[in-house]
Symmetry: C2
Subunit: 397 residues, 2 copies
């Protein structure tokens, strides 16, 4: 069988000598992006000016990009729109879901990415009608789904440990209890196969700048289940989600389908970078990504556990229960990660003691993983925790 | 006196032979942008990867850009953050304002840009607590301000006619009645002097892609009056508005000041373009912009009225009551505008009969205005409304 990633490895512009294991935080630069942006700026904006909205495809770019993402997350064409940030999109999805039920409880878990919890806290506080955000441990989510739950709001892959929720089973259980579901795919889209339609998920949001490699702060995306969209009334509405934006009516009439999740004018330069980046996924099957990702992460775990005493696996050991990242705990994790970065192996750190490593088959090979593990072993073997390089101030990102 | 715009005219890359009178819709390309984006992409993203968030100033870019905008709208440093779209920012400002009062009426006018009305309609509907959006004619706003108004929400310059509200007087009247104020500066920022602090405005939002020339869909901005921010609880919150985003606490604690109006990860490429574009305003005084804008628009009105019978001025005749655009009505306005564009004079059209022309001294001169008026006169003189070019389908943008 031909390795489908031989082609994709040539599509990324990685600094020489670097092993980049942080594509779960910010994907690297696709080679197609500089030329696309140069054209978008100099020609489409510079020459066509206002005409770019029609002549350059800007107006429909949220749907064009959305359709490219849809293919990767098991969503039908037309059900995904790109734009805004993941947080803003989650606010839209949550308020839309709450518009479809009289129940008051939003159920999530304590392992959810904090911004998702902030979105819910402030949205529910603003509603001021007795809504409640109920948080349970990730492993207790299934038993906590009951007839009071309005919305089950989860991130599929835990940002610290990589622990993977069972989207299909939890969605089914939520539906059986009469609840709606919102899935945050920040660490799923482009990381593993997602089957939104098959799982029956009602809403999903996700991120353009991690595994999709759209660039820093790339637009996020929103999925609405076909059939659910017509009932959904997001609290944040704007002209580009209107049925007829250029009629300039004073009354809001939501556009059909997911387009109603559009709000204001989208950031075209960032959106064009994401659009170009997504072409790396052409003809890539997410099942192949998953096999290769598991092979890389299993190799990394084996190499680290063989050569790096003192590191404790923080991710699920069974790859079926893990996303596309592997995390290890170490009491001096921050310092170790700084030392790794200084030697060209880039992962990241999450307090208090987690080192994260993301595995992205589009541009990573087994030899990269071996080199990363060997560098880590070397650092740990030579480490004296009194040395100043292990006491740098904690970075903010 | 030296013309301060001799320098700025050299900073824009306009297509040869074009008179661009649509900078009130999408500003043209500043020459500084291609190089900045090339560096941002190839070096900051491509080489520094995730490190760009600290090393390249990405994390603070919303505040960096916000401070550049603040100088143009009479806002103190630290009171403006860039990011999201104008619509999303208006939603944040409106929900934040409503969190500060028990009153239920949002007062606006029928001339407001429709997206502002959509934002309010859907936000109030989501609250579900009996809030009401009250719309009056623009000239009736002052008398409609009473003790029931929670928030006066207006766009300073009418997007069709250029009619200018008296921000200072209306804000004072609103405050005297115990109401808060939100000003949409979409057609004000970079168009005319704005004195947010002097007027005592509580919130303001505005657009990065019109007079600020930040590129298609450039990030918008939000102002919160120093002193008001600590009481404001926007309904849309996210990690970048948290007091300590990288503590990853599960509880939201808003950052001090306007930073709490940040939500998710901002689109850095689009934000960097806006940042570069704003440097065109260095050492420019908005009072000079205003004088030059009035000179250009008065010249245009005089030339058109002299040479174009059949056109009816839709803008206030007194420049004190007008923003930086001039609109004329014509029964065949759409067709006339298409003919103008075909001859290199770019304005735009708003149904049913308004032709808009924006005046932007940073890159326009009197001779451009004369040429535009002469072209318009020539088209009207030769027009036969039966000819097919006057019956093209209405454009969507």
């Amino acid at each position: 069988m031909t390795d489908p990633f031989v082609r994709t490895r040539g599509l990324f512009d990685l600094p020489p000598g670097i092993v980049y294991l942080d594509g779960n935080s910010l994907g690297p630069l696709p080679k197609s992006v500089p030329e696309r942006l140069q054209r978008e700026i100099a020609t489409e904006w510079g020459r066509k000016l206002i005409g770019g909205w029609n002549l350059s495809g800007w107006y429909r770019l949220p749907e064009t990009v959305g359709d490219k993402i849809a293919r990767l997350i098991g969503a039908p064409p037309g059900s995904v729109v790109a734009g805004d940030s993941t947080s803003v999109n989650l606010h839209k999805a949550l308020t839309a879901a709450l518009s479809m039920t009289d129940r008051k409880v939003v159920l999530s878990d304590t392992g959810n990415f904090p911004t998702d919890l902030y979105v819910a806290q402030m949205a529910l506080a603003a509603l001021g009608r007795g809504h409640e955000l109920k948080l349970v441990a990730p492993e207790d989510v299934a038993v906590a789904i009951d007839g009071e739950v309005a919305v089950l709001m989860l991130t599929e892959v835990d940002y610290r440990t990589g622990r993977l929720h069972d989207m299909k089973a939890l969605t089914a259980k939520a539906h059986a209890a009469g609840a709606l579901t919102i899935w945050d795919l920040a660490h799923s889209a482009g990381a593993l196969p997602v089957d939104l339609l098959g799982a029956g998920a009602d809403f999903a949001v996700g991120c353009g700048y991690k595994y999709l490699n759209g660039g820093p702060g790339a637009p996020a995306f929103t999925y609405v289940r076909p059939g659910a969209a017509e009932a959904a009334q997001p609290a944040v509405a704007g002209w580009m989600g209107h049925e007829a934006p250029f009629a300039f009516d004073t009354d809001y009439r939501p556009a059909p389908g997911s387009t109603r999740m559009r709000v204001g004018t989208p950031p075209i330069l960032s959106m064009a970078a994401l659009d170009a980046a997504l072409d790396a996924w052409n003809s890539i099957d997410m099942a192949d990504v998953r096999s290769a990702s598991i092979a890389l992460s299993e190799l990394f775990i084996a190499e680290v556990e063989r050569s790096c005493p003192g590191l404790v696996l923080a991710s699920p050991r069974d790859p079926k229960h893990r996303g596309s990242q592997v995390s290890f705990r170490h009491a001096h994790g921050y310092a170790v990660m700084q030392a790794l970065i200084a030697r060209g192996v880039i992962g990241d750190f999450r307090a208090p003691d987690i080192m994260r490593f993301g595995f992205t088959p589009l541009y990573l090979r087994g030899e990269d993983v071996r080199q990363a593990a060997a560098t880590l072993a070397d650092i740990l073997a030579g480490a004296s925790w009194d040395r100043p390089e292990f006491h740098a101030r904690a970075a903010v990102t």
